[in-house]
Symmetry: C2
């Protein structure tokens, strides 16, 4: 691998001059510039990014810590984030921590150490209190961390309202909701709050089943079956996310229930992929693109030490389709 010095020698110049040409700094004669580029060409020289990173004390790398890009929501979110970050001159380091708090902790420890300039976190593991580390700008997505980390989220309360209201308008009374564990501090809990508020306002009894997001389809199956077995008269389900909603619908048919005649189902997330693959699913659409843009914007502010709000709530919409 040729280095700056090799180029300098070949062009009969000093490292400084070559560096200047590369970074277009200061006064340079055209002749010098040409010589440098020619030497670079001949040697197939490329600057060493790491050395540059060390000197500049920044990497232009942003870490994205999420459960898994295999999930459509996080996949689309990651794609959107990568797109924005790339446009701003950053590259993206990913860490998928699903089902593995140890891995999340490890990523943190490693990423916090000057490997990345900033961090976008949406991982859901519990019991990780390490984010307090000062110095590294962090933005959370749909996840409450500690007080000085800004959160970007969809308007979960509004989403919960819209879904529950729609189910009630469609004549359902016995409506069951699924959500993450109540002790996991996430903005998604506001959906539950909204659901309960709307139910109470209509003198209906809210029932929430708690399902850990980071859990296999099989384990979720157990929980969802309990819904049908413990509440055979359930009329509607407001699910925690779209894949859960679909899984519930498939289970429903095993219990002889037909959607939407027999049972209404509304999901959450409304990714492009799910709306393409299961267009009949009524769902609350999170503005993934806007969330990504906002997260990157906020991160930039943090990087430039500008003040930010604590929370950014982005508007949801309802994909009004056939299942609920």
């Amino acid at each position: 691998m040729p280095k700056l010095e090799d180029v300098a020698k070949r062009a009969h110049l000093s490292k400084t001059t070559v560096s200047r040409v590369l970074n277009k700094r200061g006064y340079l004669s055209q002749k010098t510039i040409d010589k440098v580029y020619q030497a670079i060409e001949e040697l197939d020289y490329h600057p060493n990014v790491v050395a540059r990173q060390l000197y500049k004390n920044k990497t232009d790398l942003i870490g994205i810590l999420l459960p898994t890009v295999a999930n459509p929501f996080f996949g689309e979110l990651t794609a959107a984030l990568e797109d924005r970050l790339y446009q701003q001159g950053f590259k993206v380091l990913i860490g998928n921590s699903m089902n593995n708090p140890q891995k999340e902790a490890d990523y943190l420890q490693q990423l916090l150490i000057k490997q990345v300039d900033g961090l976008i976190v949406g991982a859901h593991n519990q019991g990780i209190q390490q984010y307090r580390h000062q110095g590294l700008p962090v933005v959370a997505i749909d996840r409450v961390m500690n007080q000085d980390i800004p959160v970007v989220a969809s308007d979960n309360y509004r989403g919960g309202q819209m879904a529950t209201q729609r189910l009630i308008e469609h004549g359902a009374c016995k409506i069951i909701h699924t959500n993450g564990p109540h002790d996991l501090a996430t903005p998604a809990q506001r959906r539950r709050q909204a659901y309960e508020d709307v139910m109470h306002a209509h003198n209906l009894q809210p029932i929430t089943y708690e399902v850990d997001f980071n859990v296999s389809t099989q384990v979720k199956d157990q929980v969802f079956r309990r819904i049908f077995e413990e509440h055979s008269n359930v009329e509607a389900i407001f699910a925690s996310n779209d894949t859960d909603a679909v899984q519930i619908m498939q289970l429903a048919s095993q219990y002889g229930r037909h959607v939407p005649e027999d049972l209404l189902v509304i999901g959450y997330d409304g990714t492009k992929m799910v709306r393409e693959l299961v267009p009949q699913l009524t769902t609350v659409v999170q503005p993934i693109d806007k969330m990504a843009r906002t997260a990157v914007e906020i991160l930039q502010k943090r990087l430039h030490k500008e003040p930010t709000d604590k929370e950014y709530l982005l508007p949801v919409t309802l994909w009004e389709s056939q299942t609920g």
Copy 2:
């Protein structure tokens, strides 16, 4: 940010000794070790990864260049790759190049430059000949690059055979296939070859519609509509991937066709996500996990300068469901 020297000062030792403690090298008295760890604790010191990278001339970073993690196949593939790579001590830099040859070229230029220790490429853009760059170990997934880059792919020929044969066994004669542009050198073209071979063996006429993978749903719509308009008597479609298959089925209903009574459809990829969301879709399942493991294995060999084969074909299976 405290550095080695700060720790050394606080522990009344030299940088060397502290470094030795951190890397557990050479002889050290327990007393020294304790002092060092105490100082590290007190200062909340973390080694600077970039400085280490510069000295060691490696980053423990692997670049993954794919069209987009928003697509379920690449999403699941990325998740699997990340998982394996993490286990091997690597972190992952992603680049999504969909619809953007410029971006792919840019990523290459940047990643080839010592920013990553190796590269896994599955991007589909044409006209990028830059991968010749020596020195950086590269593995391609489902993509033919140049001769000295090993390719990991599912057994596309077998997949094409299985799908076509099944459609014929189910009584279809007028079978149409969709695939990428024929001038794009990809192992997926072997599906087309298999399709044509099987068709010819049954004295049937193969018809392939070419659809650029990197293109919007809307544009694909145009192409798929042409299938129904130019071949109103089509009996079965073997689609290039599952999302296309679903899109085709939805279009079919607009043309008054019912799947599977009126029209058979088989997809390709068989991701967990699609099989969960659209279980009725018959599809050829790529062994994503095995592909990821293999790719990482091969990459390791390249990193250790061990010889590798040119091509690794992994077995596909058929998800025998209802649409075809």
